[in-house]
């Protein structure tokens, strides 16, 4: 039996074990038993095995504000790795019939460039808070905050929550 064959043979058992680890952690609310990073890797591996890796289909971060575009209608460039992936639109001024890059255009570019980090941070926070909610009798305000977070994640992933 080759290594690949042994891995394929063991895969269903490994997947089940990973699910048990995640379920134990979520059920016991003892985040930290296995280490947070280990649990995130477990969840990523499970999602990949179940064909749910499409939630990360967007251009991987980090994204940066790359500079100003020379093309009409475009303001700031958003870059990932070595290529431009998006442009913010400039603000058209009817008085002089030209587009201008405003402070708002620049703020939009910064906000867009931060989107991958915001999404990743939010996912981590929601994972932590979902366990915390179960045992700490979170008040209605906290529960509503977590619900809003999940809705924002769902929008970013193209799901309806």
């Amino acid at each position: 039996m080759t290594f690949d064959e042994r891995v394929r043979d063991a895969a269903p058992g490994l997947l089940a074990a990973l699910k048990e680890i995640v379920a134990y952690d979520e059920g016991s609310n003892k985040h930290g038993d296995f280490g947070y990073e280990v649990l995130q890797r477990c969840k990523t591996a499970i999602a990949k095995a179940e064909g749910r890796s499409d939630v990360m289909a967007h251009t991987p971060g980090p994204w940066t504000v790359g500079g100003q575009s020379d093309n009409p209608g475009e303001a700031e460039e958003i870059a990932a790795a070595d290529r431009v992936i998006a442009w913010t639109a400039d603000s058209y001024d009817y008085d002089d019939d030209e587009g201008h890059i405003t402070q708002e255009d620049r703020a939009n570019a910064r906000l867009i460039a931060a989107a991958p980090e915001l999404l990743a941070a939010l996912r981590s926070a929601v994972t932590i808070l979902s366990g915390w909610e179960c045992t700490h009798k979170a008040d209605d305000g906290d529960t509503e905050t977590v619900r809003l977070c999940k809705a924002a994640i769902a929008k970013a992933e193209g799901r309806s929550e």
């Binding site: 967007h58 708002e104 989107a115």
Partner: protein
């Protein structure tokens, strides 16, 4: 100056064309905020969705940091730091 708030959504003129992210103002008028295009890689639809969700993500991250930041920090300092850094990046502080 803050970024445009409110509802951002993805629009497209054709399947193979760039995706546009539009913002809706309170008076209902819509205008283009950004154009998303990643060549032939085919991932620009997901990327555009993430761009359109940016104001929502920022708003809830800000809310979360204010309301439950201490809880997150108590459970995981790395997650708390990541949240703080993401907000600072969005606000142009880094």
């Amino acid at each position: 100056m803050a970024a445009i708030q409110g509802s951002w959504r993805v629009t497209a003129r054709g399947d193979d064309d760039p995706r546009y992210v539009q913002a809706r103002q309170t008076d209902g008028e819509e205008f283009i905020v950004a154009k998303v295009w990643a060549g032939d890689d085919g991932d620009y639809e997901s990327t555009a969705r993430l761009v359109a969700a940016a104001p929502d993500l920022y708003a809830v991250c800000k809310l979360l940091f204010g309301c439950l930041g201490e809880v997150i920090e108590e459970h995981n300092e790395v997650a708390y730091s990541d949240l703080h850094m993401a907000l600072m990046k969005a606000e142009g502080e880094t």
